[in-house]
Subunit: 269 residues, 2 copies
């Protein structure tokens, strides 16, 4: 399968060099992206800390592959149509479940909490991945469970931060179907609006005993490259043994991990 030049017996120096050249080419491509997708040769060479002559040769390769174009008037280099295609392919396969997986494991291991990631399914917020510590609290939600929009922390995070009409429609339906006791847990004048404003201010949603008896939860949004909430990460525990306060260690960790998942999906920092 390998040509003589590619065989494992090839001199290590040459193999290393080839990899280094590819990495330098990628560094030039990334440098151009970090400069806004458009730059002079001088500014780009400074940014990647290489000589202009060297960067110029790499740019010639990038232009050969249609990843970079050169403006005939300003002589500036800019990211070309193949760079858009690579980004589109990367966005299409960017998967919030995969991105959230290591975040859930870190939350479980560092805080020993039950945690999960949910996406907005056609019936409402739906758990798609679930992690439990060695000594889990007993809860009757699992992968596949559809959560309440109005009474779960997960649902409230979507309600407050995912700007889609179907989310509000789901909330209005839940409100119409709710018992008097459940309604009494919400703002009397503007139940949906008040929930949304709270979540928007805190940038996370917190519940104590409103959805699952004896359970508190903290939920934070995962944003994608388009600035849209594509998932919500939630941690939960037995009320009393679990601190769901907005500035407590659990809320801080959940927000940090939700942000880390977003970074893998191209969300703005």
């Amino acid at each position: 399968m390998t040509s003589p030049a590619e065989a494992p017996s090839a001199p290590p120096r040459e193999r290393r060099q080839r990899v280094q050249s590819a990495e330098t080419g990628m560094a030039v491509l990334k440098g151009l992206a970090h400069l806004g997708g458009r730059s002079s040769l001088t500014a780009l060479a400074t940014h990647v800390a290489e000589s202009p002559a060297k960067v110029h040769r790499y740019l010639a390769s990038l232009m050969e592959e249609s990843l970079v174009r050169q403006d005939t008037v300003s002589q500036h280099y800019y990211l070309g149509p193949e760079a858009i295609q690579i980004g589109l392919a990367a966005m299409r396969q960017a998967d919030p479940i995969r991105a959230a997986e290591p975040c859930l494991i870190r939350l479980r291991e560092s805080l020993e909490v039950t945690c999960f990631v949910a996406v907005m399914g056609n019936k409402g917020p739906t758990i798609v991945r679930f992690e439990e510590p060695g000594l889990p609290v007993t809860v009757n939600v699992r992968v596949g469970s559809v959560m309440s929009i109005l009474w779960s922390a997960t649902g409230r995070a979507f309600l407050g931060l995912l700007d889609e009409s179907r989310v509000v429609a789901l909330a209005e339906q839940e409100l119409a179907d709710a018992t008097e006791d459940m309604r009494a847990l919400l703002d009397a004048g503007d139940p949906i609006g008040a929930l949304r404003r709270d979540v928007q201010q805190a940038h996370c949603a917190i519940v104590r005993d409103t959805y699952l008896r004896g359970i508190s939860a903290v939920a934070a949004p995962v944003y994608d490259y388009a600035g849209r909430v594509c998932a919500v990460i939630t941690a939960l525990g037995a009320t009393g043994g679990f601190d769901p306060s907005i500035d407590g260690p659990i809320a801080i960790a959940v927000r940090r991990e939700a942000k880390a998942a977003g970074a893998l999906l191209g969300a703005a920092a």
Copy 2:
């Protein structure tokens, strides 16, 4: 500025090799994008026509630069967060005016027609670049001119294919302000709806003497990476000496050039 190894006196073989390695790295990156952003090593090696061992080394470099990640379960490679960032930067600086410029020059040179590219400005379709042949027809539009939504070919292309409420609002305003003579040029029952349907069917807009006296025009949409009409390319000429028919050579060329401009902006083929 250049280190000894980078000086122009460096052996040509080494310089060529460096460029080749960068190009192979880019080919692997593009190959992964063309396979949907996710692939096994074997499928990717087949796609780029290189040995798996060679492709594996390049993938290690791409992973080093966070352009590619490997799924720990399936061992498949997929485009990583830096690939999204490169795409986002490329999209942000993708400029329909720059993309359309060579298209206008080709239209002018091959067909000897006056042509321009317009974008949707806050007052309506606005000409941002204008090309004229050696013997131009006299028209009273130029760069900066805002065109009619309802009576110009340019405006109708936006009306039919740019799905934004402000476009329809502009059309309704124009209709309300129009004289009886101007209204008589449109469908009596559903003037805006009929125009939109015509353009959607033909995928271009054609007018004969409706906007500028004695002038015919053909306009076609330029799509961006998001599938949105970001510009319209229009060719015009004196009615009689200019064939605006839907399957005539001018309409075919305008549609082809609008598509070529869109390809530079990441539009789907």
